[in-house]
Symmetry: C2
Subunit: 388 residues, 2 copies
């Protein structure tokens, strides 16, 4: 096990109706002038935004609002939010929405305390401080409600890049599974895929003897595999929604990833796909993850066999472990198909002839990416081709 | 899933040699005058205490020290520590040791900011504040390095009682698995048993559809079952020690327990045993947990069957699930025996004729305890008898 630091200080407030406590928690964490950040009309139509505002008003907390975050959140609105925060002396950002809204809020929080261009932090500049961010989660997927990360797409060149820092961990996150019951099936499935991908980026590692985190990873995967189909069959299944919602947090606050090399190349590979076609991140991952697996499987057949046996319940083929390893990947693809996810370029509207463009934007050049297998540009090309 | 709050803000600093960073972290968390609290001679002999002092001195942090914490930590030293903190204006407590040292440090931290008797908090008074506590862990077992709890034995009447509060979560905990390599086999096994018990108190629940926490509980149990025998076979197996050490934290910071009714009656039942005979907590739990299981199994045979199949790899007897359930308990007992734990009163030096005394100190009267099955005094009597 590698040396590590783990610091997850977010206060999680989980369960039915908990959004009415937003004001109380903003106050506890020192917010006095709040920017409420959100996406489209659903939080308005559902009355959620009103409930949140009432809760803030009840604690005499002033607020302003900025809506309009799109999936694969863009830099334009971030610049607008930063400007607004500076002008209005905002001291707290409350994100009401899914991962895109939260990531956008984190970017604004960074930029509000920085004199330069917030994009610097998405190009590798180390984050030192940010306004406190809190979340009221409406989509189980990205894990941003408990994570250090934020992913933003810069409109110039459609670059999709990430910033990471403990300063970006939300101070509190309200998770009410009821709020996710109205999600369309496709988004529910995208969310399930996203959280599985967060685990898989950590699961496939060269670090040996990391049984505790292996088992925690498997715990999350087994939960999603059991609960996602239940939520799809009955969108109002509160228990399934609750299990999925908490699994999404556990998948990405890094309790499953500490002490081990992590990979994250599939996320980078997917980012070029979703930046180019603006497809849902989860759908892009459903297409790219099995392709990545097929390409790298030979690097550690026994790890893929473990994945097959422990996660997918495959029988171990002791004479030919490779058969088991392949069966695990096949079962993963079957599962993705069963929950309505695409697993090929064509289902996504992506085209083989755009692969050179994606490689160009990725800009790997002579470098490599990932850690389980260090991928060259040629490897990435093959992975894209495997997904066609 | 029940509504819940989860707040685990401890900064974990894990790995080889990390204790040399103690001073840096004390400074980061605002400590200026530190009480170093520890147990017996081993931290002196090993040079650990010297390394910690050097690390504090390097950051110009002043400190005083109080050693002498015994297993099943007593109120006497706590009173002494509180007095010392008040006299010397201590603003930070650094516990160097295992669960007993940490629990004693937490009690001192409570009492140092309280005008009354610290024991009030162990008799149900709500905790509002405490001095910051940090830990350098030397025994993987109690999980106190990441938990809200502290268990102290009051010398008057040998009452063993617990206080719980988010204010008692350590601000940071340094976990270096190397420090546990010198632990005797018996203590290693007691620690493994203790962490399994922390999970089991959460696992046996009446809350339905809590797959994510079920799976996380099973992840910890499977890890301990695999890794503890490796650490016993080769005490210097760093990887086994590392897995066990992190498992012990995960077992008890409540990530495995949120959203579900928890039981904790076996811990109370064991407390009377270890208070009376001063036996190791883990050894007492090894004796009492299987007895509790046998007594309550009929309440939910399928949950015990799940435990047998998922944790112990038993074949499900679909025609007679009770056989599977019983097999799981038998496997648990076999495992405990295999790691050198007692599973009967006689192995512990406990006596059947003392059962009335234990029941009297427990003082249940007409009340019940536990939640999986609400135990009456008669139930507890039977559980003690099953352990004879």
């Amino acid at each position: 096990m590698n040396n590590f630091n783990f610091y997850s200080p977010t206060s999680f407030v989980f369960g039915k109706g908990r959004e009415t406590e937003a004001g109380k928690y903003v106050k506890r964490f020192g917010g006095t002038k709040v920017l409420i950040h959100f996406g489209g009309g659903s939080v308005l139509r559902s009355g959620l935004l009103d409930r949140v505002k009432t809760s803030l008003a009840n604690e005499n907390i002033t607020f302003t609002q900025l809506g309009g975050v799109m999936p694969n959140p863009r830099s334009g609105l971030v610049y607008e939010g930063i400007e607004l925060c500076k002008r209005e002396n905002i001291d707290f950002i409350l994100a009401v929405g899914g991962g895109s809204v939260i990531d956008s809020a984190k970017a604004i929080a960074l930029g509000a305390l920085y004199d330069g261009d917030f994009w610097d932090f998405y190009q590798g500049k180390e984050v030192e401080k940010a306004l406190p961010v809190a979340t009221i989660l409406t989509i189980s997927a990205a894990g941003s409600e408990g994570s250090t990360g934020s992913v933003i797409t810069h409109e110039t060149g459609m670059l999709k890049r990430a910033a990471n820092s403990d300063a970006l961990r939300p101070v509190f996150s309200i998770l009410n599974p009821e709020l996710t019951c109205t999600l369309p099936a496709f988004q529910t499935a995208c969310g399930a895929t996203d959280m599985m991908a967060h685990v898989l980026e950590r699961y496939f590692t060269n670090t040996k003897d990391v049984e505790i985190t292996d088992r925690l990873c498997e715990a999350v995967l087994l939960t999603v595999i059991k609960e996602a189909p239940k939520a799809l069959a009955n969108p109002n299944d509160y228990e399934a929604r609750a299990n999925i919602m908490w699994a999404g947090m556990v998948a990405h606050n890094d309790i499953c990833g500490v002490g081990r090399e992590q990979d994250w190349s599939t996320h980078q590979i997917e980012h070029e796909l979703s930046a180019l076609y603006d497809v849902a991140h989860g759908a892009g991952l459903a297409v790219m993850f099995p392709a990545w697996m097929k390409h790298v499987m030979q690097h550690d057949v026994m790890r893929f066999a473990q994945f097959a046996v422990r996660v997918w319940g495959c029988e171990m083929d002791f004479q030919n472990p490779e058969n088991t390893a392949k069966q695990g990947i096949a079962k993963f693809e079957q599962f993705l198909t069963s929950i309505g996810m695409p697993i090929r370029f064509s289902e996504l509207g992506a085209k083989a002839e755009d692969i050179p463009t994606m490689l160009k934007v990725l800009g790997l050049g002579a470098q490599t990416m990932g850690s389980f297998v260090k991928l060259t540009e040629e490897d990435v090309k093959k992975i894209y081709e495997l997904a066609v």
